[in-house]
Symmetry: C2
Subunit: 129 residues, 2 copies
DNA sequence: TGCTTAGTTGCGTAATTATGCATATAATAT
DNA sequence: ATATTATATGCATAATTACGCAACTAAGCA
């Protein structure tokens, strides 16, 4: 980890939606697809998608496509630097983060065989008409 | 610590100069004045001053004026969240951070009675003609 | 061979940020 | 008081970022 990549990493973390996504991934221990994150956070689908791209490019998330769904998870191997920051984010406990976890909990119960099999349920968050 | 202030904090950290300043403050254990930071980092005086302001406003630094000099130090009381991040920054060890520490070391030897008594030595970094 | 669905991305616009230059403020010294 | 010195900041410009909208790709199904 050098100064430049640390600055890039912090820049990727300098957004509320991205912090909330990482918090959910860290606390749930799950890998989550775009539509699950969209429903849990109640942010428009195209914004979720763009924020996820920022996190992947910063090395904060791994991406895996399964069928029509794309799953994101925290990288298995993390530097001490990254681990410390993810721990800090996971420790966030406020109205918003509690709500996010509760919404995700509900959403994860719609999985079948441990996988998401449906799209976005909160249709006003769709990135198309 | 809530999501919004975490985002603000990370935004304040999303700049190389600001990370280098925090790194010096954490590793040296000293409080440092504007001209010492300017000489150590070799960044123009007005930019050092502006970056310091960002860090103070984000709650990452305390400011104390002594005579004509203004000293900055890490806050004595830190949340676990902040402590984890400062530890991570202090652990940075690269060409740049080693050089910064060496330059600061040299600069601190110009103190008398543990205080800076001179201005910027690298005159090309001054914010005036 | 389409049609539907999960996700991505280009474009335009608005907001924010960094930096150089010049100047302002504030404390000390002559 | 006036000049000097340490630090801060207003202004202009350039670069970056976020977001809504719309269109696009890609995978599975009829």
């Amino acid at each position: 980890m050098n100064v430049s990549s640390a600055a890039t990493l912090f820049k990727a973390l300098s957004d509320e939606t991205r912090i909330r996504m990482l918090h959910l991934l860290a606390r749930s221990g799950e890998e989550l697809c775009v539509c699950e994150l969209t429903d849990a956070l109640e942010v428009s689908q195209y914004n979720i998608s763009r924020h996820l791209k920022v996190l992947v490019q910063a090395g904060l998330l791994d991406r895996q496509k399964i069928g029509r769904w794309v799953y994101f998870r925290l990288p298995e191997s993390r530097s001490p630097f990254l681990e410390a920051i993810l721990q800090a984010i996971a420790s966030l406990d406020t109205d918003i983060t509690q709500r996010d976890l509760a919404e995700l909990e509900k959403r994860l119960q719609l999985r079948t065989n441990g996988r998401c099999t449906i799209g976005i349920q909160k249709t006003h968050l769709l990135g198309r008409k």
